[in-house]
Point group: C2
Amino acid sequence: MTSPSSSSPLRLGIAGLGTVGAGVIRLLHANADLLHARTGRTIEVVAVSARDRTRDRGVDVSGLRWYDNALDLVSDPDVDVVVELIGGAEGPARALVEAALKAGKPVVTANKALVALHGSALARLSADNAAPLLFEAAVAGGIPAIKTVREGLAADRLLRVGGILNGTCNYILTVMRETGQDFASVLKDAQDLGYAEADPTTDVDGLDAAHKLTILAGLAFGRPVAFDSVHVEGIRHIGADDLAFARQLGYRIKLLGLARMTDDGLQARVTPCLVPQHAPLAQVDGVFNAVVAEGEFVGRIMVEGRGAGAGPTASAVTADLVDLARGQAITLWGVQSGTVEPVRACPISVGEAAFYLRLRVEDRPGVIADITAVLRDCGVSLRSMLQHPADSETAPHVPLVLVTHRTSEAAMQAAIAQIDALSVVTDTPVMIRIEAA
Amino acid sequence: MTSPSSSSPLRLGIAGLGTVGAGVIRLLHANADLLHARTGRTIEVVAVSARDRTRDRGVDVSGLRWYDNALDLVSDPDVDVVVELIGGAEGPARALVEAALKAGKPVVTANKALVALHGSALARLSADNAAPLLFEAAVAGGIPAIKTVREGLAADRLLRVGGILNGTCNYILTVMRETGQDFASVLKDAQDLGYAEADPTTDVDGLDAAHKLTILAGLAFGRPVAFDSVHVEGIRHIGADDLAFARQLGYRIKLLGLARMTDDGLQARVTPCLVPQHAPLAQVDGVFNAVVAEGEFVGRIMVEGRGAGAGPTASAVTADLVDLARGQAITLWGVQSGTVEPVRACPISVGEAAFYLRLRVEDRPGVIADITAVLRDCGVSLRSMLQHPADSETAPHVPLVLVTHRTSEAAMQAAIAQIDALSVVTDTPVMIRIEAA
């Protein structure tokens, strides 16, 4: 048991030499002694595949076999493990991973979109060919989130899983709160700093977090989760004043991905949430990620760390390689094949929560009466209200913030539709769930 | 790879049926379906050993083989795995674990003292007999701390590891801060609530945290750490006013176990520390534990959760059983045998930190001059000072709080000795390290 499956070198073929690929090569070099001590083997790169042979990546790739076509890594008999760092749910990344698994070669990947969208088919390929597919780096960067959920909490029935899964959104919301700047200007700064992509859609519209939540939920509940069953909202509609109002009410706003197992199936959603300001998740700021899981026996666990970047991601990719070198590998969803059937999804309109509701309304008598009448008629009861006097910039439109008691999401949706239709309501209402987190 | 090593049942012999033992039996029963799905095997208890056959433990043990002598579990051919939940570094627990390993039977234990004091010898026994020894529950209860450090961060060179490792101390310090009560009265309440033992020594004097730190450091640095090389202080000397002063200065006081690898060897200490109030560790309150690790590539990771209790501990014990059932097991310190040699310890007087110093002094002119002259002569420079007017209760003795800039621990120790000798200083000085955490 305690010896690795082999003492021969573990030989890698790496596809994709961006920041993460270069980071993995750097880590393997810097920590070669330590990796040997921990696995009893050397872990060495023998071949790579990337587009540009001449680009300076800050690491020496001169002695390595170079393939223009990543698929050639699969047929190279010297490659024991394929490391896929190309990215993207389709195209060359998918083709490479499928080919490697079919050839019985273990794969390590950081590709969240691929696993989120094709996890079910990949799990079958992996099992059928006895080729492990490891993807620790796909969720929350350097945080060992996959290992925590699939192995560390493997004894417990998990009730929910999720957390702060996108560092770009968390950074933007943190800076908006701290500086009072609006979304667009903070996004611009984040792009300049390299914390947001030129095309920020995947991050700020919640898709990246949804990919990660899909994977985490699949692991927590031992079954593939259909990506399109995850309800996804981003943060573009959050105003700087929402962050200020939330603070006044004792909350912070975080983009959370949360999946809960209910009696009616799995509810998975990525949405901005109000979180009590003293809750552990509320303290996780900037580019940091945090994964929470709650189990019947273990209670609540939270892991926080760097969710992106060359170093943390390289650490996660290489931790998977250490597992392989040590002869450790388990099935994709952490269950024995045969028991895998897709999880039933529950509509997000089922269930209750308290809500924050921010409106912009005309500043004249009777407006509050009109709005609260709609809420009453929909069965939504109010816990508190903030109203700010008009200032010169926004008058005659003023913000009106309402916080509800726990109410059904369906009732809330009905109320919002009617409120939005009121002529005194001048902007689309913003509704944010309140999560105990 | 993806199938377990066997599909036959994994049969357990459990020694010790206290709250944790009963919790494990309850969990195995409650989650039997899920454990089977995750491992492809049933995990069943076939035999137990405990002192009192008649005690009501809230679980049904009537169908199980009962041994008065725990060692009989080892010779029972139906027992595949010995689960040691007796506790204690010596006596029956140690004898049982050694006998099981010698017989080639895997062992799962929650016994931190045993692993901390005898880890080196047990690692050899485990390797020599190809019998895994797993102890996830020994550190930080339900938090998968062992797995995080030994596997999740296995790719990185760790610079430090530690955290809030004793829930009793964290609970006491939290309540002292929140209520202003002194140590003795909060301890009494904690004992009444079951958060502290009748004999609280192991917890409040830091030994329990030191056991856990010894284990974590061994895993982080891949070598056994001598328990007596860990510097240990408890929390008895912390006054309610220290918590109040810390708060005024922007800090909280936490009992931290921290091990750092330095150029001169390993520094490991369990001491109360001042932690900036917005640092993640400062937010971990009550009976919660948190483990931090910092690596060159991964940066800083923190995991928090419940550090004790039947449910969380049973979750950790059973996670080890899931690993065994899945055919996963690695060497005790996470390195291949042969490379294991004890880590070199560095005296804690080596190195620098900022310090909080709380004195009680006579309330008369010239006192501050006398004290600051000592600090100056020892090369300790001050960053800030709090002095409170005498009140009727304490006069003519008043507290004087000094915060230093970074300075060597040796200089600080020299200064404290001289200050303690001053006739105007009426109580033993309290010196607390400031950690960035």
